[in-house]
């Protein structure tokens, strides 16, 4: 006995009710549950659909589907973090280290010799950086929108918020508030700004194109559906 189209719909609703909002994960779970229920019917055709479904759901453990979704998110995030780390390390090996060193030198000169305008407008500079970062985030988030929600988009959103999160973390590093900053402050500002810029380069030149491609590929895979 096979599940009816209506029962398949019920399975989709069931996954949604159990906090699975991503279509690709819903599809996989629905097929799994459907197979398992059909196998139960092979053994005993009198089992009610609802009862068979509950039996199968219990097999997913106490966290149900949520644990599964979370673990998949963690796996994807870890994967992209590993890529970021690899690309960042690349900036400290030949030949890219020449670029990193030049960037460090230029930023060091700026932070070590701030002009009066920079000191007077340190908050304006900081607010401008925050505003631009937020604007880019909003733009990316909108451009990532697709009719169906895919799990990879959660990872994409997470990676998009990183420039903002890191900005908050490094907020004292990007501006200069005195004409004669201490060497420690200059070094701190230079190092954090260099790392931040390198991170942005990696994120926007490598990681985000990869993510966009992955979203397109995911959509393509489901196109026939």
């Amino acid at each position: 006995m096979e599940l009816s189209a209506e029962q398949i719909e019920q399975l989709f609703d069931f996954t949604k009710k159990h906090f699975v909002e991503y279509y690709d994960v819903q599809v996989e779970l629905v097929d799994h549950l459907a197979n398992a229920i059909e196998d139960q019917w092979k053994e005993n055709p009198n089992i009610l659909f609802e009862d068979a479904l509950q039996t199968e759901f219990k097999k997913f453990g106490i966290f149900g589907f949520t644990g599964l979704v979370e673990q998949k998110q963690v796996a994807l995030q870890n994967h992209y973090w590993r890529l970021i780390k690899k690309e960042l390390i690349d900036f400290f090996s030949i030949p890219k280290i020449i670029f990193s060193a030049a960037l460090f030198y230029i930023l060091f000169q700026i932070f070590a010799n701030p002009n009066e305008w920079m000191v007077a407008n340190d908050y304006v500079i900081l607010i401008s950086i925050v505003a631009i970062t937020v604007a880019v985030f909003v733009y990316q988030k909108i451009s990532f929108k697709t009719p169906k929600k895919w799990l990879i988009q959660n990872t994409a959103n997470y990676l998009y918020t990183l420039p903002i999160s890191l900005l908050i973390y490094f907020r004292f590093g990007f501006t200069t508030s005195t004409l004669n900053p201490s060497l420690f402050k200059v070094l701190f500002s230079t190092t954090s700004s260099t790392l931040y810029i390198l991170f942005l380069i990696v994120l926007y030149s490598k990681i985000i194109p990869l993510l966009k491609n992955e979203i397109i590929q995911t959509e393509k895979r489901f196109q026939f559906a």
């Binding site: 096979e2 599940l3 189209a5 398949i8 690709d24 599809v27 996989e28 629905v30 097929d31 799994h32 459907a34 197979n35 398992a36 196998d39 097999k59 997913f60 453990g61 966290f63 644990g67 599964l68 673990q71 998949k72 796996a75 994807l76 870890n78 994967h79 895979r221 489901f222 026939f224 559906a225």
Partner: protein
């Protein structure tokens, strides 16, 4: 039986990869059933362990996915990527070594047979 499940747990990824190597492509439910069938019910891969393992290997680039429409629903098939094939070979070597060493520890007399 329950204790045995613990022993299998560490080799779950290797088992999945080996099955995919033999079968070409498989879907989640099929994997659980195949393992049950091969081990005659001895090994039971739980859903809570299977999917995180599959998803992690997919994120790591060892598995590729393919969609197909079957019985009015969409089925997600997993298959090994090129790096997945290499990983399977090295994991199988590790597992075989482990089994050999365990055999030697559990039954040292076997050594005489070599």
């Amino acid at each position: 039986m329950k204790k045995q499940q613990q022993l299998y747990k560490g080799s779950l990824n290797t088992i999945i990869m080996k099955l995919l190597e033999q079968q070409g492509k498989m879907y989640g439910y099929e994997i659980t059933q195949k393992v049950k069938e091969i081990t005659q019910g001895e090994m039971n891969i739980t859903e809570g362990a299977l999917y995180p393992a599959l998803h992690k290997m997919e994120a790591d680039g060892f598995l590729d996915v393919e969609m197909d429409r079957v019985d009015g629903r969409i089925r997600k098939y997993y298959k090994l990527t090129e790096s997945g094939v290499k990983e399977t070979i090295s994991r199988m070597e590790e597992l075989e070594n482990f089994i050999r060493n365990m055999q030697t520890i559990v039954n040292p007399n076997l050594k005489l047979d070599y």
